[in-house]
Symmetry: C2
Subunit: 135 residues, 2 copies
């Protein structure tokens, strides 16, 4: 199938658009557990959709210990155009709310690295609060 068709097809799923939205807004690398917590979805679900997005050429990945960081693949100029478009287009509440939660979750990073795995939904906000109160 035509490559661009394949790419646009890969976009056509709510979970995948929510994942991409986080990468596009954040602009830097993210690991799976940060996505799991931000989107409140099972890990296997996120992993599978990331895999589909990766096959479509959206991501680079890089392992650091047991963590794997994904990053948008901006080396292709038509990808870059696509991301720019989506950044403006995905302006609905859901996408904004997802990013707000991601930003909270990123407070748990230390020296720019994820240092916790995924956190049961009920503990997440408490944990973030404790963390930000540490001095």
């Amino acid at each position: 199938m035509n490559k661009k068709v394949e790419i646009i097809k890969a976009l056509g799923d709510e979970t995948r658009l929510r994942i991409l939205n986080l990468f596009i807004r954040w602009g830097k690398n993210l690991c799976v557990c940060e996505l799991v917590d931000s989107l409140k979805m099972p890990q296997y679900h996120i992993s599978k959709h990331i895999n589909i997005l990766r096959s479509a050429g959206f991501f680079n990945s890089e392992r650091e210990g047991t963590w794997i960081y994904y990053n948008l693949n901006n080396s292709d100029s038509s990808n870059k155009e696509l991301f720019n478009f989506l950044k403006r287009y995905l302006n609905e509440e859901q996408f904004e709310a997802d990013y707000e939660l991601l930003k909270q979750r990123l407070l748990l990073r230390e020296e720019g690295k994820c240092v916790v795995g995924f956190i049961p939904e009920k503990d997440l906000l408490k944990k973030i609060q404790m963390k930000t109160e540490e001095v």
Copy 2:
């Protein structure tokens, strides 16, 4: 489902992208038989995909006798942004070739209106040639 997700999902099909490509490049109304001839697909196939695109809010339609003309719905500004993006993004050979054939097919219009139904593939180019040689 989220409206924008639904819209992007509707894009995720080769036939539908090819149809949209023709509208976006041409910028004016088109009838089903012009699409059938340009994309060389069965009429029911085109009609069904147009229906999906219409449900996603991409088209207005207008009947003139037995012909039905479709037109891009530009009244929504986020649609307009999407079309602008696609105009640049759908730059592959297939999309250009489709538009070249459409332009040929449009030579059969008279006073801006489609006056023939769909034409067997083998006769199309001959018919266009005859038409353009008239006077």
